[in-house]
Amino acid sequence: MLRFTFHRVIILLVVLFAAHFFGYAFTFAEYARNLQNKGEVVDNVWGSYRSYLTEMVHLDFGSIGKNGEKVQDRIIRSSAVSCGVLAIAFIASTVVGFVLGFVAASTDPPRVRTWLAVLATIGLSMPAFYLGSLIMIVFFYYLILLGPNAKLPLPLQGFGWDSHLVLPVLVLMTRPAVQIAQVTAEYFSNEFGKQYVVAARSFGHTWRKIRTRHALRNILVPVVISITASLKLLICELIVVEWLFGLPGLGRLLILMLVRNVSFLSNSSNLLYNPQLTSAIVGVFAALFLSIDFLGSVLIYWLEPRYRV
């Protein structure tokens, strides 16, 4: 186990470093061109990256634009929002998905109940932006119906650790939740058809006991894999959800940074083509992905004895 963990940590660090360098190099050319146009001497990408690493050792991650805002301050602020929303959506989707899957796996005959199949098919086919936009439109018409003095039951835009999170989390968790529910129900129903379940029933075990004692243990690995995959899905959807609901998180920062003309909509000029910021964002995203992957594989390794052989 230790060897496996050590092996994975080494890979994680190498990939993280590569991602960080890639993020830096990604916008460096544009950045260097801008500086050269203004008559400044610019080092090559590797030399510049090495200088940046030296500054990082002294906890100087660079600054954004001429306001002098520190990159780490912005990243920490945005990461806190994104990670908070992700964590809530992740817990909610896992709990809801697992409970739905648990309930939807019928025992006799062993199959997935129709309502979950329908729900999962619709849920997986519904893009987050569509669901979010529909909710916004419903709220909009609610306002039109009740007049300008009416108050929305839930805020549509902005961020706060309160009711502001309800709609983004709801939109974010829908697809992962139905995905987890589908996987859980399918694996449960597969297990219920197996011989050991028939044997357990013949010994007089209740379905509850069979579910929790036997079947659950056997399906944990695929469910954990599905939860890991759902978390990755969450991160992708996060970009859209942050953009839609105006959450000041990493996803929104990424869009503001990557897309030149977005400045038409919002003041992002300071963020464009900033290698320090790009590498930091890419680094955080890569760290999130790699950590999820790492935790997932360690968990699977621990749960599944066959991998240890």
């Binding site: 990604f26 203004k38 634009g65 001429k66 306001n67 005959p109 098919t121 619709i122 997986l124 086919s125 519904m126 893009p127 987050a128 932006f129 569509y130 936009s133 529909l134 916004m136 439109i137 909009f140 990755k232 991160i235 992708c236 970009i239 859209v240 953009w243 839609l244 990424l254 869009i255 990557l258 897309v259 030149r260 003309n261 977005v262 400045s263 038409f264 909509l265 003041n267 000029s269 995203f285 992905f289 790699l290 992957d293």
Partner: protein, 835 residues
């Protein structure tokens, strides 16, 4: 097995419903354009007679002629949708096909080969799976975007991994089968084993995977569309919210900006949802139906399919292969398949997009739609074909008796012009006259400083109606030209200080000549009125609205208006119309019949805690003067020398002691949200701290005499931190002191750039966002109007356009929403320049 438990005895609902949905979408893609009732690009600015009233776009769903409504320009949503499905589906099929091909190649390589190739391909698959498609696509489009190749590459580059993983697993399973062992023992080459055995056994899986690939690709394409990346005429435009050719992604991208007109979003989003659902259902259905592990009941369809396949194999393919050899036979097989694919949709999918807008096949909507109220156009619109990126005159319009004021552009792009005879003309985006209306009562006329008679221009609202400001009342006209409401004023409106809008353009604030403040809603009129506590007061500035809705303005008090101005005050009013505070502006009492300073330049500080009035700083919370003022501003000689402004801070022969005594000061806030002040020709970037005004940076505009220099006519800072100044001396005497010019200054690099306006050009428009200036000038003999666009740091115009036969300009205006330049020449012709 009972009938109930046998899956093959049941209807495969997934396949059935999914198949129906895909058939529907495919039919839309193939025959949609032919069924579209309108040209999807045709703007219909209206008006449209619905029942007994006239309506303007955007039309609601179920409006006659617009079953799914229209967008703001009157383009039919249904037609856009019918045209938009095809390019999206084409793109999605291409991308899904490419992903499947890559996935098959990598999957076969990883599943069939042994180490080290297997290991390398395995790592490639795992790596591609680890990187989220959306992130990669966004990054690639940001880096290499703008063309279809990059777009497809961005979608394909990592999307193949899931497919490859599944094919890899299935290939490994097949490789262990005994028939592969047998083929290997008989000496069959790998190519043959892969072609004859592996791929043939993978075919059911490929069909399933293709379905899921299509839905996954469409999901990514639509999400990218929503984020602003979509296909436009075989190019990709990022964050271009104005749509051109219909495409589902484009319809989604446009709709996010207009939640009050959600028809396009709902329609496009629903089609996307249905398509994804259809392909997901078909994938699931195929997984059940083509389950090669299970015994299959052969339906009549299966039997006939097998018979036909067998017949084709025996009578066409096999003889050809025998006659021409195996390789040519395979080629013929591929050609036959492709021909079939092309024949089934009748080659429709290969049609070119824009060139096929066949108006003749559509309904003649002119017969359905009512004529505009008045189609009389005083001067026919002159339209010039646009060259690539070259400016052109989009249209022109002659106002018979001239216009006293600049045009007003509505959020829907409609242009409103008031003539000298008080007729309001509403012109569509193509210059067509929509309606004209005699304004009764007439707009308020007043005399400018130069003696010219002008009016307070009508105000365009976010609800597409127009507010007209008369002498005794204010009223609104809806988009069809009907009067909506009327509000009486206690005094005539405050001429040039009349009106301001809040940030969201939801409330208009109007100051009348006695400094009474009116809050007016576009849809219902007056919501509250705030009366000043003193008599004989005169407004000195426009109302300025902070983000929290507080309204600030200045006014002066005098015992008699004829004797000039008395004390000046800064007033703060809450968004509900109650006084927040009122503060005296120190040393503002008139001297010699003239107020010492103009108090018409009010800025709300970036943090909204400070209010700047000319050179003074007020606390926004209570109206008190802030503890630190510009008068306390100290810049020590050493710093002044470092900044290179030491010599400018003193008069001739004086010694600079560190205290600034400026003739005139202006504190202002840049577009980038930072504090600036200019005194003379020195500009400082500053910050308000507990210890006073802290100078962050300073730059000299190098115009000469430092502090004694007059303030520019216009000044600002773009969002890119670029300072711009414009000097426009009006008299020859003033011109001797400074030439008409514009300057761009990069404070960080102490870099100044100027364009001297030697020809006395008339500056018509300025884009505060990026610092571009638009100049127009007219000359006589020959009569020519010339307009130029200057970007920052450029003394060469980016573009220029000349119009013959125009020898003078009245005024110009740049509308940032439409991106057009509006020029009104003195020959009463109104030109709209687009690039």
């Amino acid at each position: 097995m009972s009938k109930e438990n046998n899956p093959f005895k049941k209807i495969n609902w997934s396949l059935f419903v999914g198949g129906l949905l895909i058939l529907f979408i495919t039919a839309l893609a193939i025959w949609g354009p032919a069924l579209a009732p309108r040209d999807p690009l045709e703007a219909n600015p209206g008006p449209l007679l619905i029942g007994d009233h006239w309506d303007m776009p955007p039309y609601d769903p179920f409006t006659k002629g617009f079953p799914l409504g229209s967008d703001a320009k009157g383009r039919d949503v249904l037609s856009s949708l019918l045209w938009g499905v095809r390019p999206t589906l084409e793109l999605v099929l291409i991308v899904a096909g490419a992903r499947l091909l890559l996935g098959l190649t990598f999957g076969l390589a990883a599943g069939w080969t042994d180490r080290p190739i297997r290991k390398i391909v395995d790592i490639a698959i795992s790596g591609a799976m680890a990187i989220p498609i959306l992130l990669v696509a966004l990054a690639m489009l940001a880096k290499f975007g703008q063309d279809l190749g990059s777009y497809i590459t961005a979608l394909v580059i990592t999307g193949w991994a899931e497919t490859a993983k599944m094919i890899q697993a299935e290939t490994r399973r097949i490789k262990k089968q005994t028939y592969i062992e047998a083929a290997f023992a008989l000496g069959a080459p790998v190519r043959r084993m892969l072609g004859k055995h592996v791929i043939r056994h993978l075919t059911p899986l490929l069909l399933i995977l293709f379905s899921f690939e299509v839905s996954s690709t469409l999901l990514t394409v639509s999400t990218l569309g929503f984020l602003g990346f979509f296909i436009i005429d075989k190019r990709i435009i990022e964050f271009h919210r104005e749509g051109y050719l219909p495409e589902l992604g484009q319809m989604l991208a446009i709709s996010i900006n207009v939640p009050i007109q959600p028809w396009a979003m709902v329609a496009a989003g629903t089609v996307v949802f249905i398509t994804i659902l259809g392909f997901n259902l078909v994938g699931q259905g195929l997984r059940i139906r083509l389950n090669i592990q299970a015994a299959r009941r052969r339906t009549w369809l299966d039997q006939w399919t097998e018979r036909i396949s067998l017949w084709i194999e025996q009578n066409i393919v096999f003889p050809i292969e025998q006659f021409l050899g195996e390789r040519v036979g395979v080629a013929v097989r591929i050609i036959l398949t492709l021909t079939l694919i092309m024949l089934i949709p009748g080659g429709e999918l290969k049609q070119q997009f824009r060139s096929e807008l066949d108006i003749d096949q559509r309904l003649d909507m002119n017969a359905i739609l009512p004529k505009p109220l008045d189609t009389r156009v005083p001067t026919p619109a002159k339209e010039t074909e646009p060259a690539s990126n070259k400016p052109f005159i989009a249209w022109s319009f002659e106002v018979p008796d001239g216009s006293p004021a600049a045009p007003v552009i509505g959020v829907d792009g409609i242009t409103y012009i008031v003539s000298h005879n008080n007729v309001l003309y509403a012109l569509g985006t193509d210059g067509r006259l929509i309606w004209e209306k005699q304004l009764v009562p007439e707009p308020y006329h007043y005399l400018q400083h130069n003696g010219a008679r002008t009016i307070i221009p009508p105000q365009a609202t976010n609800l597409n109606n127009i507010i007209v400001i008369g002498e005794q009342n204010v009223y609104a006209i809806d988009k069809a030209g009907n009067k909506m409401w009327d509000v009486s004023l206690d005094s005539p409106p405050g001429a040039k200080f009349c009106c301001s809008w809040d940030q969201d353009k939801e409330i208009m604030y109007l100051l009348d000549e006695s400094a009474a403040l009116y809050a007016i809603l576009p849809d219902s009129g007056l919501t509250w009125k705030y009366l000043p506590r003193a008599k004989n007061v005169v407004p000195r500035s426009k109302p300025v609205i902070s983000r929290d809705g507080t309204i600030y303005y200045t006014f002066s008090v005098s015992s008699s208006r004829s004797t000039g101005f008395g004390d000046a005050f800064l007033q703060a009013v809450t968004p509900e119309g109650r006084q927040l505070w009122i503060s005296t502006i120190p040393n503002s009492t008139e001297q010699g019949g003239q107020q010492q300073t103009d108090y018409d330049r009010i800025f709300v500080g970036p943090e909204e805690e400070l209010i700047f009035v000319s050179g003074l700083i007020f606390d926004a919370n209570n109206g008190n003067l802030a503890p630190h003022q510009f008068s306390d501003f100290v810049i020590d000689p050493k710093t002044a020398q470092e900044l290179g402004i030491y010599d400018l801070l003193i008069g001739a022969g004086d010694k600079y002691e560190g205290k600034l005594t400026a003739y005139s000061v202006l504190l202002f806030v840049g577009y980038n949200g930072e504090n600036y002040l200019i005194t003379g020709s020195i500009i400082f970037r500053w910050k308000y701290t507990e210890n006073g005004l802290k100078i962050l940076n300073a730059v000299n505009a190098n115009l000469g005499s430092g502090l004694g220099f007059p303030l520019p006519d216009e000044i600002g800072v773009t969002q890119y931190d670029l300072i711009w100044l414009r000097y426009a001396p009006s008299s020859d005497e003033a011109r001797r002191f400074i030439e008409p010019q514009i300057l761009w200054i990069d404070m960080e690099r102490d870099n100044t750039f100027k364009v001297i306006d030697k020809q006395g050009n008339y500056q018509v428009a300025f884009d505060p966002e990026n610092g571009s200036f638009y100049f127009c000038s007219a000359k006589r003999d020959p009569d020519i109007l010339q307009c130029q666009d200057f970007s920052p740091w450029s003394d060469e115009p980016d573009w220029q356009i000349t119009v013959d036969g125009v020898n003078s300009i009245k005024y110009g205006h740049l509308d940032l929403t439409t991106g057009r330049l509006y020029i009104f020449a003195k020959n009463n012709i109104f030109y709209v320049i687009d690039n």
